[in-house]
């Protein structure tokens, strides 16, 4: 898998120097790194899409938007990418923690500084989006797991609700839960598996989903299921702070 690395620096010679160090690292470690260069923050933000770049090297002092301002904007869109500041500025160390930077390299830096930053970033890359593949009406359908709202079993069939579509497959709920393999999914009923990221709120003995659908909570395990959901949202709320 190729990892997308971005370098944003207003000075072409600095871009080239850092790009060269990244290439040396890639060859030494035998990893595939795709490099993209930007010479300003506005240009970078125009091209930026969540998930497009995994590692970002940002200069701080640039004409127009500073690297720190760019990092703040990026963090609103993408919390998973690794941000490494590569700069002459030694004033932004404290702010760098606010944007959860992975490293802070002060120019002139050495090859081993870049190596160590990239080693850490590659070790801590977030998981890529995962898909669940099922056979539906003799066709193979891949569903982005994070887009699944809930799964409902009716008879021997599983209805996979994504909010935009319902895919029907001849699969059991336990088997699907294992294939999904995510702690974000909760078995809230004998016939329902729910993605807690898509629950808007609890309403009586049901979950109200983003799509407006109501998913029932098992009457025999209500307390345990409510508690698991509350604990899950509690952890998410803290992590989002």
């Amino acid at each position: 898998m190729q990892v997308s690395v971005l370098v944003c620096d207003d000075l072409p010679e600095e871009q080239a120097k850092l790009g060269q160090m990244i290439q040396v690292y890639a060859e030494k470690r035998g990893v595939a790194l795709g490099l993209t260069f930007f010479s300003g923050g506005a240009e970078l933000l125009d091209a930026f899409r969540p998930g497009r770049f995994q590692i970002l090297f940002l200069d701080i002092y640039m004409p127009g938007l500073s690297g720190m301002e760019v990092a703040r904007q990026i963090r609103k869109l993408d919390t998973g990418c690794a941000i490494v500041f590569s700069t002459t500025s030694q004033d932004s160390g404290i702010e760098s923690f606010e944007v959860q930077a992975a490293d802070y390299l002060v120019k002139p830096f050495r090859q081993e500084d870049v190596d160590s930053a990239l080693d850490w970033c590659l070790e801590h890359l977030p998981e890529s989006p995962r898909y669940l593949t099922v056979q539906s009406e003799r066709e193979s359908v891949s569903i982005l797991i994070q887009s699944l709202e809930y799964i409902e079993i009716t008879g021997h069939m599983a209805n996979l609700h994504t909010g935009k579509q319902i895919v029907t497959a001849h699969r059991g709920l336990g088997e699907l839960q294992t294939a999904i393999g995510s702690s974000d999914f909760l078995r809230c009923h004998r016939s329902f598996l729910v993605n807690m990221n898509h629950i808007q709120k609890m309403e009586g003995n049901s979950f109200r989903m983003d799509s407006g659908d109501l998913v029932p909570i098992s009457s025999t395990d209500t307390a345990q299921i409510r508690e698991r959901f509350m604990d899950w949202t509690f952890v998410k709320a803290w992590e989002a702070l």
């Binding site: 160390g93 009586g204 307390a223 409510r226 509690f234």
Partner: protein, 245 residues
């Protein structure tokens, strides 16, 4: 039977030779733990070498390391030790913050330390101290709920019971507002009207008539306790931001 569940205090540690900073951090941590209703204890070592030599380090969930005083440990010494908690570097300088990246800490605490300044770094290592949270156990529609106390945003009386407003929705609870008030810590919870109780930690704004809560709820302030309620909020916020101790 409604009750508070204490799961046991979680240990935090500090390595610093600076007694003034140790006192400041202990004070800020006390205010923070009151606000999030968590039971934590702080153990202090004069330097990181003493911490690493101590046989009890594995119990330390979160370690604050003072980057402005004493010998800095080598990253390898920390990596090779049995300790596996969250590391928060504390310093007054941007230069120390940059230097601290060799440890890849979980967060950075800028000095002078306040309870508010601890909030985000500690949130990032939440799984490490989650067990410190005090929970309120209540019965709701014949099912038992164990709500982290700081998750309770506000509550309103409803006959002899009350309705609890938490981020996940609203639940009827088989406990009166008076009983609930007695179960919750007075530092963070305020009875702002005969029929309403609020969590000060969850107040987003206030005018003379109501508190606007983090879930968007508007909770009225009783006419007879308006001044006292607003003063309690002001005192709470001053304590939180370090403007008052």
């Amino acid at each position: 039977m409604e009750q508070i569940i204490k799961q046991g205090a979680v240990s935090f540690g500090l390595c610093s030779p600076d007694c003034v900073f140790s006192d400041d951090l202990a004070q800020a941590l006390r205010i923070w733990s009151d606000n999030v209703c968590a039971d934590v204890v702080l153990c202090v070592w004069s330097d990181c070498a003493s911490f690493l030599a101590d046989g009890q380090t594995s119990e330390c969930a979160v370690l604050f390391l003072d980057a402005d005083g004493g010998e800095f440990p080598s990253p390898a010494a920390l990596r090779e030790s049995p300790w596996r908690g969250a590391l928060l570097l504390c310093s007054v300088s941007a230069h120390s913050a940059i230097h601290s990246y060799v440890f890849h800490p979980d967060g950075f605490v800028s000095k002078p330390v306040t309870a508010a300044a601890l909030e985000r770094p500690l949130a990032r290592c939440f799984p490490r101290w989650q067990g410190a949270l005090r929970r309120l156990e209540v019965f709701s529609e014949r099912t038992r709920l164990r709500i982290p106390m700081c998750d309770l945003i506000w509550a309103e009386a409803c006959g002899r019971s009350c309705i609890l407003h938490v981020p996940q929705g609203a639940f009827p609870a088989g406990v009166s507002l008076l009983e609930l008030t007695e179960l919750l810590p007075g530092e963070s919870f305020l009875r702002c009207q005969k029929s309403f109780l609020i969590n000060l930690y969850r107040v987003r704004s206030a005018d003379g008539k109501a508190f606007r809560m983090s879930d968007g709820g508007r909770v009225p302030i009783g006419r007879d306790c308006r001044d006292a309620a607003l003063a309690a909020l002001a005192a709470y916020q001053a304590r939180w931001s370090g403007k008052a101790r």
